[in-house]
Symmetry: C2
């Protein structure tokens, strides 16, 4: 009796297995497998008996075992910086939709912009044998991924390119977008334009800085050191940087903000100071149109980034595509007012 009880208890609580279903239905193990997977070659009567047994026992196939046998997990991993950042929510959702369309589940992880944590996450995902990876890299050396990619893990980088390996990557045109944004300010008469951005070791930050420099250079403006603030990322430091630029003896008359978080803080600072200062931000932000003035931004399409990357990933998995490619999506300048303010006299 205790014997019987023990036999039905396994490590997953006491989930029935195909064996249990087979026993109850009075059929062989493989027949249950056939029914569960809708394979042909089962008489309606047998199928009914099996279905009843499944129902009665509450059987649910163990995909872990299935995965082990089949070799494909039907899951992909997404490693991004911070799921709480409004930029990554839509990106993640877009990846998920594509995965869903391919019958795959999405495992999500945040690297918190820490290269070590990125690697740890990626390798954990590889150990799970995800079929593919979409990575928004935090680090700049991804050689640790080479064995995995050789072993068949499809990999696409998004938002920033991979470091020191050759891999697919989907990017926004950070350089072009920043250049356009800064040129927009210049076209409205500004010459002393500040730039506040993230650490230049982050590819997008470096590219946007390059766009800023290029636009300035093209206009024949020499950039002064005090106009640029790099590597500031937390609101408090962004605030200080903005205030310094705006309070200098010859203050900047316009600011280009390198990403959504910077933009938000700069908007705050400007609002507090009362004096109008022109502003163009990289990344669109919600409600930007309702502020007075509306915030002019260089918008990138996060969902499109995610979708494009995921589609590319599944194309890798479906067979083709040996040559890694770099796909660049355009940005869009959205004028709403803040970028069209003329320089203070």
């Amino acid at each position: 009796m205790a014997e019987t009880a023990r036999r039905t208890v396994n490590r997953y609580g006491n989930r029935p297995t195909m064996k249990d279903v087979a026993a109850r239905a009075g059929v062989g193990l493989k027949t249950v497998s056939r029914v569960v997977n809708g394979e042909p070659g089962v008489t309606p009567d047998t199928e009914r008996r099996v279905q009843e047994a499944i129902e009665a026992l509450g059987f649910r196939r163990n995909d872990s075992a299935r995965v082990l046998r089949k070799g494909r997990t039907a899951s992909i991993g997404l490693v991004l910086e911070d799921l709480a950042d409004p930029f990554y929510g839509p990106l993640s959702r877009a990846v998920e939709e594509v995965a869903r369309a391919h019958g795959a589940l999405l495992i999500n992880g945040s690297s918190a912009e820490d290269p070590e944590r990125e690697q740890e996450l990626v390798l954990a995902l590889c150990a799970r044998r995800v079929d593919g990876l979409v990575v928004i890299p935090a680090g700049d050396d991804h050689r640790y991924l080479e064995p995995e990619m050789r072993a068949g893990v499809a990999t696409v980088f998004v938002d920033r390119p991979a470091g020191r390996i050759d891999a697919d990557v989907v990017l926004s045109d950070s350089f072009g977008g920043a250049r356009d944004g800064v040129a927009h300010l210049i076209a409205h008469g500004h010459r002393r334009i500040g730039f506040i951005g993230d650490m230049p070791r982050i590819h997008t930050a470096a590219e946007r800085l390059r766009g800023y420099r290029t636009a300035m250079e093209e206009a024949g403006i020499e950039v002064e050191d005090g106009w640029m603030s790099l590597g500031v990322t937390d609101p408090e430091r962004v605030r200080r940087a903005a205030e310094e630029m705006l309070s200098a003896p010859t203050p900047v008359t316009a600011v280009f903000a390198g990403n959504n978080r910077v933009t938000v803080t700069v908007v705050r600072v400007i609002a507090e100071r009362g004096r109008p200062v022109a502003l163009v931000g990289f990344d669109d932000i919600e409600l930007a149109d309702l502020l007075r003035p509306g915030v002019t931004v260089v918008a990138q399409d996060a969902a499109a980034l995610g979708r494009t990357a995921a589609e590319r990933l599944f194309r890798q998995l479906d067979g083709g595509l040996i040559v890694p490619e770099r796909i660049e999506l355009p940005t869009r300048l959205i004028t709403r007012g803040s970028g069209e303010i003329p320089p203070a006299v």
Copy 2:
């Protein structure tokens, strides 16, 4: 020769297994396992040989097989409505952090507010044998989860309670928050107050409506039909609803918005009309403090919801907790201006 080659190729590309490592290091299979898992009982010299073989072959343990053997997957599932919604980003991130602290990975899925899709997702996660589930329910009948929970899948519902089953749930105090918000408007002299919210079949929407009704009743105000708009969710319909309320012969002088998306649209409508209308919204929104007037909101702490739920989940997994509990987190009224506008004469 072909024989040898074939032997090293398995279904995962050609990943080495512990067997391969063992062969190369000239030790037994189990010894490799011991090294990989840091188990005691291996001489330093043997360990070194094994490590070298692992390095040379690029071996990475197959967690699928491990999971099958051990019964725990060290992964939990999170089913929410839409990862792109700024409310769920921080929630998801909070769950992820807790999972990470417990060495677990997070599998994410969006139900798109579709009960069928929710069930499909949940069952897919159960088939993967996730150790636990955090669910923001879309449907109102979760009896399909009973066998899973009996089988030992830890389950916590968030934001809305489970339907027709007894399960842990972590909520914000929607009723109290809405009542406070509406009472705030009443305290500022309003009597004709509109309510725009989601479908009442969604628990939070129903509770917020109840809070609205209660506050009105407590103030002795009889609510007119035209003041309430339920089940509108897409921006276009919210817009129409708001405009109707504000253009009626005896228009409402204040609006209570039932969630973040409604609030945003109502802010737009009010801004376009020029006439000041009082507004209190449920859920905080970014930049709400920078609008003129600032948007007064009833804020809930999405991260706290996620964290609390995840911690509860792992406490379930760690053994204790048989009695399902309902945990309600308080909301916070943040006054910023829009809720303090007096009624138009």
